[in-house]
């Protein structure tokens, strides 16, 4: 080769024919001649197939024998093999950043018909890689210690299953639950469709497991106030609200009897009542009761302390204070559940204005033995309902309510009929539907069985035409709609859909996560990573990313647990981003423009030195700050202005 223009760098250009994939259109002899004439490279080595075992051996021998320290590979996409060759280079003590690929296959040979044009284009691409390579600097691989503990937000069935799976490996798992006890929505129903397995019976041993597991810590009546950090190193701040009842409470319920204040019970969709001191259900975890400060007479007018005198354990403590805890965890799981769709925008459905019109959730709560009425629709009314109509898609597929199909409420609707039939065997059930959505063969079988039992399925092509009415003279509820004869029934059940939980927005803000157009957390990938989020190390399980049933929530929980356990191994360090940005401290004027530009919250302001600083453990190397910096004092490693300019000029003047 003629005299080198490469300074202290000895540069080798590998030209890979990719069998004939590249060489049948790109003229390798011409490229070699051109490279020799330009003199930017010291060696041009041609390989038939560089990624094959022989090719790799050849690659290794050339860089070792010729003592090169700068490598350009004109071959396929760097996505395919840059890492392959970087690894070989590193084995030969050459820094990975010294290996650069020019994609002359996908971006040249495969998309260019003319031989001359292809060869010229290949020259441009190779020249760009060469010119840029002269500016590259050694980059260090960096690792960092990581926490293998896991923090779970939301103690429903998804959160609990994630915790139980992970705790078996001996890692510490924290469940942060907004409500006063864990258990979630599954605890509000008697049976789980389609198997109609008894839900409290399923949950009871699971809840005891959690209670007795030394690796699981439940922080109930608590919420997340801040999350800092990144995969492997999250720092989460949690606010635990006071319970005013100490942990030694066993929920013997003596205090419930003497408490003079009652209020609608939100846990039972406000259908029943609870006292100012209460638990959600027997066997709750944590077991201890909670005092509702807003209504308790000790707090409102200091006129009552009856619970104190009857408590056999001296557990009441009005002086308990709010507690703030900081927890370090390697990953975070969002399993915050869902909110039932509401019918506020649908007055024609008579919910809350006509007696005996319930949502499926309300019906399940009323018919559950755990529920407000001990399993009956109306405890004081012994009149047995003779007929029921169940309306599918109530408040769904409609811009006034939920615009999407939740995909599991059809099974809910069928289940409502099954549950009614159990309590009132002679009841006549009508299901009024348009689409029928079942997500697996068992659910479909469940529907067929209901049909065989005598349930009438009435197809209504326009569910927005459904009207539920009852005049004071009517004994029965009248249901009319497009395409079917009006029917009169004793009770009407509205199968409402699944909405994102209320706190999704706040959590998304704290965690810097995006919600999809329906308000659920957007998954990392819709096929490959449905339980990952857009932030590495934050996962979702259960209804966080879309409505799912309990079985799917458990599957997701175990998937999340598996992913976390395979990626965070106690004692093993995690690799950090190599191509991070850094700030030239001399040049930085401290304008702070980069701080909001950084989506990873990796830049902070040092008030003493009056400059911005990048925490390179958090930086992911997107380079957005570099473009936002007015003074040009931020450098994106591997993608500096000079490198990018050199590459562009290399292309233009190849």
């Amino acid at each position: 080769m003629p005299g080198s223009k490469t300074g202290d760098k000895k540069t080798v250009l590998f030209l890979c024919k990719c069998s004939s994939n590249i060489s049948n259109i790109v003229d390798f002899e011409e490229i070699k001649r051109w490279a020799g004439e330009k003199g930017d490279t010291n060696i041009a080595a041609v390989s038939n197939l560089l990624c094959a075992p022989d090719g790799k051996k050849f690659f290794s021998e050339v860089i070792k024998k010729k003592n090169v320290n700068n490598i350009i590979i004109a071959a396929c996409s760097p996505k395919l093999h840059e890492k392959t060759f970087q690894d070989i280079a590193e084995k030969n003590n050459i820094n990975m950043s010294r290996v650069r690929m020019a994609n002359i296959r996908e971006q040249c040979a495969w998309v260019t018909a003319d031989k001359n044009e292809a060869t010229e284009k290949a020259k441009s691409l190779i020249n760009a890689a060469i010119k840029r390579s002269f500016l590259s600097e050694d980059l260090k691989r960096r690792t960092m210690k990581a926490y293998s503990d896991v923090l779970i937000i939301g103690g429903g069935i998804a959160g609990i299953e994630t915790a139980r799976t992970i705790s078996k490996t001996g890692r510490k798992v924290y469940i942060v639950e907004k409500n006063i006890t864990i258990g979630g929505s599954v605890m509000k129903t008697e049976d789980l469709a389609p198997s109609m397995e008894c839900s409290p019976c399923l949950m009871a041993p699971i809840l005891s497991d959690v209670r007795d597991d030394p690796n699981i810590e439940v922080l109930a009546n608590a919420e997340i106030t801040n999350i800092l950090g990144f995969f492997g190193n999250f720092n989460v701040t949690i606010k635990e609200k006071p319970r005013y009842v100490e942990d030694n409470c066993i929920a013997c319920e003596e205090c419930f009897k003497v408490c003079p204040v009652s209020v609608k019970n939100e846990f039972h969709y406000s259908l029943g009542e609870r006292k100012a001191i209460y638990t959600l259900f027997p066997g709750a975890v944590p077991a201890s009761a909670v005092i509702d400060k807003n209504i308790c007479k000790h707090f409102t007018d200091n006129s009552c302390d009856k619970c104190v005198s009857v408590c056999p354990f001296g557990s009441i403590n009005f002086d308990q204070e709010e507690k703030t805890t900081a927890i370090n965890a390697g990953s975070i799981v969002i399993s915050t559940g869902f909110k039932p769709g509401d019918l506020a925008g649908f007055p024609e459905l008579g919910h809350k204005s006509i007696n005996d019109v319930y949502t499926t959730y309300e019906l399940e709560s009323l018919l559950s033995t755990n529920g407000p009425t001990g399993g009956k629709l109306k405890p004081d009314d012994e009149k047995i309902p003779a007929s029921a109509a169940i309306i599918h898609c109530a408040g769904s597929m409609d811009s006034r309510g939920i615009p999407y199909c939740s995909s599991i409420c059809c099974t809910h609707a069928v289940k409502a009929g099954e549950m009614l039939g159990k309590v009132y065997p002679a009841i006549r059930v009508f299901n009024i539907h348009n689409d029928l959505v079942f997500t697996d063969p068992e659910e479909h079988q469940f529907y067929k069985k209901q049909k065989a039992k005598g349930t009438t399925f009435i197809k209504c092509f326009d569910l927005s035409s459904i009207k539920i009415t009852k005049t004071p003279d009517d004994e029965k509820i009248k249901i009319s709609g497009y395409g079917f004869e009006p029917i009169s029934v004793d009770i009407a059940v509205l199968a409402t859909g699944f909405k994102p939980a209320d706190d999704f927005k706040e959590l998304a803000k704290i965690m810097d996560l995006a919600l999809d157009k329906n308000g659920f957390f957007r998954p990392g990938h819709r096929i490959l990573h449905t339980t990952a989020s857009e932030q590495d190390g934050i996962y979702s399980a259960g209804c966080a990313s879309k409505p799912v049933n309990a079985a799917a929530a458990c599957t997701q929980a175990q998937a999340v647990a598996g992913d976390i356990m395979s990626r965070l191994i106690p004692g093993r360090e995690i690799e950090l981003e190599i191509f991070t940005s850094f700030i030239d401290e001399e040049k930085c004027a401290g304008c702070k423009m980069c701080i909001p530009a950084c989506p990873f919250k990796s830049i902070y302001y040092d008030p003493e030195r009056k400059i911005s600083i990048i925490n390179e453990a958090l930086c992911r190397g997107c380079g957005t700050c570099t473009a936002a910096c007015p003074s040009g004092s931020i450098f994106a490693r591997h993608y500096t202005d000079n490198e990018i300019n050199a590459e562009i000029e290399g292309i233009l003047h190849g």
Binding site: K79, R620, G623, T624, A627, A628, P630
Partner: protein, 212 residues
């Protein structure tokens, strides 16, 4: 690297080097490879740059942003072919617009000098709260943007050009107005402002404005 890394400076540098068109390509909107959604930053940058180009007499169609995924080879080829066709129709930079090459270089240089300031203004005042293509389009072509551009950038651009012009040699205000294609009253105002700030002075003997 994210398309949010595409610096306003890169684009203007390309035009300064005589490129006839600049195409920025980012990931599909709302399908971010990171969590940056920096393609929206790139889109904002392109909107602002188009205004700057228009102001100095360059056809804003010479700059374009497109969004696509790495697997959309056919779309990429289509976009590239269409863009080069459009640019060919516009003719070479400057000549297509009928601007003198030297004047254009000078004006681009004046804009590049202002990049740090433009970045500050962009970050402080020109943020679109809702990340959607429609909202960005609405904001950057709306009356609020007209006002912000007029109030915050136009004056600075004019002054930047005056300073650059006076760096070569002192000039009378009439000549400055002529070169910059602005009316003399505006130039007087800018010169008065600049002399009050101590950036320029009036040289009695030469009857010209000069840098201080």
């Amino acid at each position: 690297m994210c398309s949010g890394r595409v610096d306003l400076e890169f684009v203007l540098r390309a035009f300064s080097k005589g490129m006839d068109g600049v195409l920025t390509v980012g990931c599909r909107l709302n399908e971010c490879n990171y969590i940056t959604h920096g393609n929206y930053d790139a889109m904002g940058m392109v909107h602002i740059c188009k205004r700057l180009l228009k102001y100095i007499g360059v056809d804003p169609q010479r700059l374009k942003i497109e969004f696509m995924s790495a697997s959309e080879g056919i779309l990429f080829a289509e976009v590239m072919n269409n863009f080069s066709k459009e640019i060919r129709e516009l003719g070479p930079l400057g000549r297509g617009e009928g601007i003198d090459e030297k004047v254009l270089k000078f004006k681009l240089e004046a804009v590049r000098k202002l990049i740090p300031y433009i970045k500050l203004v962009e970050r402080e005042k020109m943020r679109v709260p809702v990340k959607s293509e429609g909202e960005y389009q609405k904001f950057f072509s709306g009356s609020e943007m007209d006002r912000l551009f007029d109030e915050l950038i136009l004056d600075k651009l004019a002054i930047s050009q005056i300073m650059l012009l006076l760096r070569e040699k002192p000039l009378p205000s009439g000549e400055i107005a002529e070169v910059l294609g602005l009316n003399p009253a505006e130039i007087s105002k800018y010169l008065n402002d600049s002399s009050r700030q101590g950036l320029v002075r009036y040289d009695e003997s030469l009857k010209c404005y000069a840098l201080t």
